[in-house]
Symmetry: D2
Amino acid sequence: MPVSEYRGKRRVQFYETDAAGIVHFSWFYRYMEEAEHALWREAGLSIHEPGSHIGWPRVAASFEFVRPLRFEDEFDVHVRIAAMTTRTIRYTCTIEKDGARIASGSMTIMCVRRDGEKMESAEFPHEIMTRLAPTSASILTEISNA
Amino acid sequence: MPVSEYRGKRRVQFYETDAAGIVHFSWFYRYMEEAEHALWREAGLSIHEPGSHIGWPRVAASFEFVRPLRFEDEFDVHVRIAAMTTRTIRYTCTIEKDGARIASGSMTIMCVRRDGEKMESAEFPHEIMTRLAPTSASILTEISNA
Amino acid sequence: MPVSEYRGKRRVQFYETDAAGIVHFSWFYRYMEEAEHALWREAGLSIHEPGSHIGWPRVAASFEFVRPLRFEDEFDVHVRIAAMTTRTIRYTCTIEKDGARIASGSMTIMCVRRDGEKMESAEFPHEIMTRLAPTSASILTEISNA
Amino acid sequence: MPVSEYRGKRRVQFYETDAAGIVHFSWFYRYMEEAEHALWREAGLSIHEPGSHIGWPRVAASFEFVRPLRFEDEFDVHVRIAAMTTRTIRYTCTIEKDGARIASGSMTIMCVRRDGEKMESAEFPHEIMTRLAPTSASILTEISNA
């Protein structure tokens, strides 16, 4: 069964807070990426294989912030594959604390083949296509929008 | 004269790179914020006054990534005030290296009054309205879109 | 029973790696601090209480690095209270992977009373003295060194 | 003339502060490393050449913290080569603000040859020995200690 989503729990670390007493907004992009990599591990994949010439740079990432997180808060990260082509994956992500929305984000990544410092867009290795898939909710949304 | 934009130069630090050999995408949000704070300083303002009950949390932030940055690369950050209400500011940001586009972002911040852990949306202090203003290009765009 | 040590497991996140393909050394100080805060939580304490005027700045911190950590490595962090006065705590920390030493560190923190931006050395609140204590191994070492 | 030291100015960025309102201690190690890399650039060197099999992992790093830094503080970083062997460099570092000591640190790095994930201690490339040298003050200290 391909994997489509991942839910994880996380606690705010002190070095993630700033002088306003809340988590610095740059950390939410890292929380989203942590959950993405955990999703890949659940699918038996690593997004960064040692020695591989395949890479997955981020093409776009965004967040809307609703409520702050503070030191030692426990929160839930939920990341879903919203769409896939043969070369890109788009995720959506929600961050909640005690059931209340903290932030909502999305991120698009692309497959590249690296040769030294050169990167060229590439089709996914076949294995990826068999192990990752958009959530069915996402597929229904695509159809109803069509 | 109110300040509307800021251009700065920056060099990639080693701790900003990741195992893919490029700047980790979470750093671009920090580059954008650094330039925002420098814009405020040029306007004679600090975005975080010691002891102040006014704060400026981020409401949304996004980036599109076109090309990677690497260790020791020098790059240009250009941040502009694209729009202002009496409670929010929207910035746009471009990051370039040797004239080539690296990334484009935007960020919206909101003014809040803090009371302990409570934050409430607030109107800007008057001083802000006299010292910051959208770029004229942004104002023309707003008119032509109206 | 006062708490003297804490053992935790942790996985290397991608944003913790650098262009040399290994965890950037600055992260080890954060791993040590994460474990310190978990030790305090086990003792029913928080090192940063909202609204408190007591703080715990770091006075010194050091690490020796033996082997690198890489993306997705799982490792063990073990932090111990090596010594306590009425105003300072000294921790020692070892980081291991599969039983092999990765790094060894130590950190000394001090209790301060804050008044605005002023910080003054202060004696520990009584509660701290009842909930934290040096490891017995540490006490024996102190005696044999005396 | 080989290079022995580097002095730079730096301003505290917002994301470097924590909920205690001061720079998180983990940043000082990054400030020290930033100055080290600037020292190497002054000597016409890069500590991380693209495609090179030579690397410079940190063997040890420590800091003593005397006074805090806060958002937008400007400070001075001074890094010196205190000692060199044919395989290691030891730096000392002082961080000051308005002439007052903020922190003092030291860091030892080692030269390695990398082969995939393997790292082996190596002698410095000859170029390094001609471009970097301990400060004369450091050499005098070594002699007087001998």
